[in-house]
């Protein structure tokens, strides 16, 4: 018993920074994982990655002006992310160019600006910090911010759920019965940016996408309905956070990558053993019914 306690409970019970890291990352999962499910279902999985890069110049601007302060960097990241999301979204909605191309164009420009800004004044250490963050240094300010972002995300998802599902499932139909199609797309992109910005203090701009996409991608192998898929993604996110933090604590590994790699393990396990995974659909020979 003592050993189990020492392995699983003590790190969180004994250290305030571990508790804050746990609370922060669990809250992040609660908001980011359902958003990730919709990103995946809209075939925009890589857009999350692009958005994460796009946030960089904003965060860098905040960092250059105010140093390593959470609020200026967050607000800067939010502004940069929203500019890129709206810009790319608008180009794809109002011209013939598809969203993947416009998103790529916008985020690359944004990333270049970001790297330029960091290199003007900072060192590569600063860049590393912005890119990879640290969940073990979450202060109360950061936790409050994450809490607010999660609340906004969950409330928005609850309100716009039906429109979001319709926009994914049959966008032309939604356009024929309602004018919500375009607004809901932009609201959704806003949520993506919001959750990435929320994650970057803890995980960095790059790895925060991991907590968004990996649980969602894993959940896809287990269910054929959206609602359970979102719930499952959140649970996988929770498990990855706990496992990652413990791994990081016991093996002295950086916490961000540990969390994301834990989610990666669940993803590979799901590919293999999921109810819609490889083993079930390819290797185990099914008996079939007469009709």
């Amino acid at each position: 018993m003592d050993m189990l306690y020492g392995l699983f409970i003590a790190p969180f019970a004994d250290f305030g920074f571990m508790q804050r890291a746990l609370v922060g990352s669990l809250m992040l999962s609660l908001g980011a994982c359902p958003v990730g499910v919709f990103l995946m279902l809209r075939r925009m999985s890589l857009s999350g990655d692009a958005m994460a890069h796009a946030i960089l110049p904003g965060a860098a601007a905040g960092f250059l002006l105010y140093g390593l302060e959470i609020l200026p960097m967050t607000i800067g990241g939010l502004i940069a992310g929203i500019v890129v999301a709206l810009g790319a979204g608008a180009v794809s909605r109002f011209t013939i160019q598809r969203e993947d191309a416009s998103m790529a164009a916008f985020y690359l420009i944004s990333l270049a600006i970001g790297v330029l800004m960091v290199s003007i004044r900072g060192s590569s250490v600063d860049l590393m910090h912005v890119l990879f963050g640290t969940v073990l240094a979450l202060n109360n300010e950061a936790l409050t911010l994450i809490g607010g972002i999660v609340a906004v995300t969950l409330v928005s998802l609850a309100i716009f759920w039906r429109a979001l599902v319709a926009e994914c499932l049959d966008p032309l139909f939604l356009r024929s019965v309602s004018r919500l199609g375009s607004p809901v797309h932009f609201i959704f992109l806003g949520l993506v940016v919001l959750n990435l910005v929320g994650g970057f203090q803890a995980l960095g701009t790059l790895l925060s996408v991991g907590l968004m996409m990996l649980p969602a991608a894993a959940a896809r192998f287990w269910t054929v309905r959206v609602e359970p898929m979102c719930v499952l993604a959140v649970l996988i996110g929770f498990a990855s956070c706990v496992a990652g933090l413990l791994l990081s604590y016991h093996a002295s590994l950086p916490s961000g990558p540990a969390i994301i790699l834990s989610a990666g393990v669940v993803y590979f396990a799901s590919i293999l053993f999921g109810t819609r995974g490889i083993l079930r659909s390819r290797i185990i020979h099914h008996r079939h019914r007469t009709a």
């Binding site: 279902l41 716009f160 599902v165 994914c168 499932l169 024929s176 019965v177 309602s178 054929v224 309905r225």
Partner: protein
Amino acid sequence: MTQTCLTFRDLTLGYGSHPAIHHLDGTIRKGSLTAVVGANGSGKSTLMKGIVGVLKPMAGEVIRAPGVRAAYLPQQSELDRSFPARVVDLVSLGLWPRRGLLGRYTKEDRDDVSQALMAVGLGGFEKRPIDTLSGGQLQRTLFARVLLQDANLILLDEPFNAVDAKTVGDLIALIKRWHGEERTIMVVVHDLDLVRQNFPETLLLARQPIAWGETRETLKPENLLRARRFHEAWEENAPWCEPEGHDHAHDHSHGHGHAHDHSHDHHHGAGPRAA
């Protein structure tokens, strides 16, 4: 006493600077059942999109009578069949006009969904994932959704594609039921025999209306011949359409008649096509 449901006033719809529907004038009566026929590229789908409002007119306008609510079944659905949804989720989208974004689905709504599925012969399919449906079953599912929308203007764009003969019969019966309920219906159809048997009125399109009215009159051989001569391709340097005469774009059509007949013949009958 006849009321109009739709009025087209000098309506031009198209893509780029090229019209697909050219200066259309006319009205659709409330409670009428109209077949829209014409060759590929004659503007049938474009007209549908213009009526729903998915495509904005280049000139002129479509005027809907007050209180007209449209349900639209597009030819090329943007439906994502890989989306994890069940038949019941897809059909329930048809409750949107009734419940909107936030209204809760009641027991009655769910019963209506089941009844709509029964009506298209898909009773008991509620829980099936949509990626397991055949093309024809999916088409009937979409019909069930139209049924649920309870619209008084129903626009169906080639609804009989990839649908077997028995199901075409079922769907026609459904359309006739709607007709009996005084709903206004416009259907894009390729099978002229089907049109002659089931549709009282026909609009024969070739970018402009060739004929429009009672089906037997509209589908007279000379009209069909005229419709066939219509030249499908855009003329990159066709002269600009000036307010008075807008016939010149069609003057080229005679020379290309043969090539056009050929492409038209492929699409006769309700043979299976990619849906």
